[in-house]
């Protein structure tokens, strides 16, 4: 591990951006014991921006996006989401999570609820929607992921691709302004990757802010405003998709791209 200057020093110097970004990370540090999973990460995501993050396994991609909605608590630096700074306070965490939807690699659907009920649960509990209102909302979003006809099925009855689309609809039902994806297609069989990426692309067109961890280069080229390469807990390189993939500047990114293309 290369020694780095204490990241928290950087945070104080940061001038406020002219338009408040959707996500602001400044010198974010996350430790697991002695190991630094995030070693001072600075990242700003503007409203409506689509950011793709890639990097080798264990480089801290999941940790990074899990810090954004406080599934992991960061140990240093600042995280500001939609103008709300993440502190240890439980209320702030709850506020931020209302604004941020997340889709996981392994779907994590509620196995005891139907696709529809999966989507209805959070709106009913968090926003106090009636059953009828929640059902209407859930159906609308299931429609959006092209699963209205599977609404009454339990997750065990759905294919992996369908499950992941239900998970996306479930996140959408909270009508978040920011969507986080952690390798949404890497647990899927190849033939199902396309249907899920297709749905995410359609969402991207709707103007929502997106941070997506993925190694799907075609998807990144079509959707990403910016690509970010992480290695060993830090952001090594970032840029537009074109330059990023075709003219990588750093040796580490070149090496990484050579590996995933093989």
């Amino acid at each position: 591990m290369i020694a780095r200057p204490p990241a928290s020093d950087l945070a104080g110097d940061l001038a406020p951006a002219p338009v408040a970004p959707a996500i602001l990370l400044a010198g974010v540090v996350k430790r697991y014991g002695a190991h630094r999973a995030l070693a001072g990460v600075d990242l700003q995501v503007q409203r409506g921006e689509k950011v793709v993050i890639c990097g080798p396994s264990g480089s801290g991609k999941s940790t990074l996006i899990r810090c954004i909605n406080a599934l992991e608590r960061h140990d240093g630096g600042r995280i500001v989401v939609n103008g709300i700074e993440l502190t240890g306070d439980e209320g702030t965490v709850q506020d931020i999570r209302q604004e941020v939807g997340m889709v996981f690699q392994h779907f994590n659907l509620f196995p005891h609820l139907t696709a529809l009920e999966n989507c209805m649960l959070a709106p009913q509990l968090n926003r106090g929607l009636s059953k009828a209102q929640a059902e209407k909302l859930a159906m609308a979003h299931l429609e959006r992921v092209h699963l209205a006809d599977q609404a009454r099925k339990y997750p065990a009855r759905l294919s992996g691709g369908q499950q992941q689309r239900v998970a996306i609809a479930r996140a959408l039902c909270m009508e978040p302004r920011i969507l986080l994806f952690d390798e949404p297609t890497s647990a899927l069989d190849p033939e199902m990757v396309k249907e899920v990426l297709g749905v995410i692309e359609e969402l991207a067109a709707s103007g929502v802010t997106m941070v997506c961890v993925t190694h799907e280069m075609g998807f990144a080229r079509r959707v990403a405003d910016r690509c970010v390469f992480m290695d060993r807990g830090e952001i090594v390189e970032e840029g537009g998709a074109q330059d990023f993939f075709d003219a990588p500047k750093s040796e580490r990114l070149r090496h990484f791209l050579a590996q995933i293309l093989r």
């Binding site: 909605n69 599934l71 709850q94 999570r97 209302q98 941020v100 939807g101 997340m102 996981f104 392994h106 994590n108 659907l109 509620f110 196995p111 005891h112 609820l113 139907t114 649960l121 959070a122 509990l125 968090n126 339990y154 997750p155 065990a156 998970a167 479930r170 996140a171 909270m174």
Partner: protein, 255 residues
């Protein structure tokens, strides 16, 4: 010695008394099951707490009331608590002064201790990712417990719960030592009057068997209904099933 060990006339005559005994057994099953379960929840939360000051007393409770034979617990409550002056003069003497009260207290504590472990194992079997997904949706911890963790834990722990309930029912047969005339006690007293070693006890056995199997059937239906979402393929993810196998090993003897 005739070929059939059962005296049918005696069996017929004993039926009403045995049935009354069965009702006492049912009563001494249902009430402690409710009280024990109600106790088990807070104790389980304490046991799973990261604060030592909560976890340690809860663990001690479980070790003692699960590790001590039920008969000793019953003696302890029935004979031992009477020693405590404050208790004897206090308002709770209505409970601790009566055999029924003592039996219910001892049985409930025993059941609670077992249920803490059943609950804990079932809650731990709930896949972490599913809880995380709920957190990410902004659902509060209380609601996650009520709507996600508990419903899933119930499904994962139902078998262990059934085992505990069945072995609990059989465990109630000792209450005659504190002068309660449950099913076992009725059978014993008929034996003492008639010196027929088979008829009353075998009849009682039939009653116990029927009661226990009624419970089993009930649980089977309950489980079928709960698991309607994966009637054909198993939806339970790997880690959950693993934890459950461990849980099954930890619960009382399997039926």
């Amino acid at each position: 010695m005739n070929a059939l060990p059962i005296d049918l006339d005696l069996a017929w005559e004993s039926l009403p008394a045995l049935f009354d005994g069965l009702m006492v057994t049912v009563f001494l099953t249902v009430l402690p099951l409710i009280i024990g379960l109600a106790l088990a929840f807070p104790i389980c939360f304490a046991r799973m707490s990261s604060r030592r000051a909560l976890a340690l007393p809860a663990e001690t409770f479980v070790v003692f009331f699960r590790g001590a034979p039920l008969l000793i617990l019953l003696y302890l409550v029935y004979y031992g608590l009477g020693q405590i002056e404050a208790l004897r003069n206090g308002p709770f003497w209505i409970v601790f002064g009566s055999p029924f009260g003592c039996a219910i207290v001892a049985l409930s504590l025993n059941h609670a201790a077992y249920m803490v472990e059943v609950l804990r194992g079932s809650l731990l079997a709930v896949p972490h990712g599913i809880v995380e997904a709920s957190e990410a949706l902004g659902i509060t911890r209380r609601n996650i417990f009520l709507w996600v963790r508990m419903p899933l834990a119930l499904r994962y722990g139902l078998k262990a719960y059934q085992n505990e309930v069945v072995s609990f029912v059989k465990g109630t047969a000792i209450v005659s030592v504190v002068t309660i005339t449950d099913l076992m006690a009725v059978a014993n007293s008929i034996f003492e009057q008639t010196y027929d070693p088979f008829t009353p006890i075998l009849c009682a056995a039939a009653f116990y068997w029927a009661f226990v199997n009624l419970i089993r059937v009930g649980f089977t239906f309950w489980g079928g209904w709960l698991n309607r979402h994966n009637a054909e393929d198993v939806a339970m993810p790997g880690p959950g099933r693993l934890a459950l196998a461990r849980l099954a090993g930890r619960a009382k003897v399997m039926p």
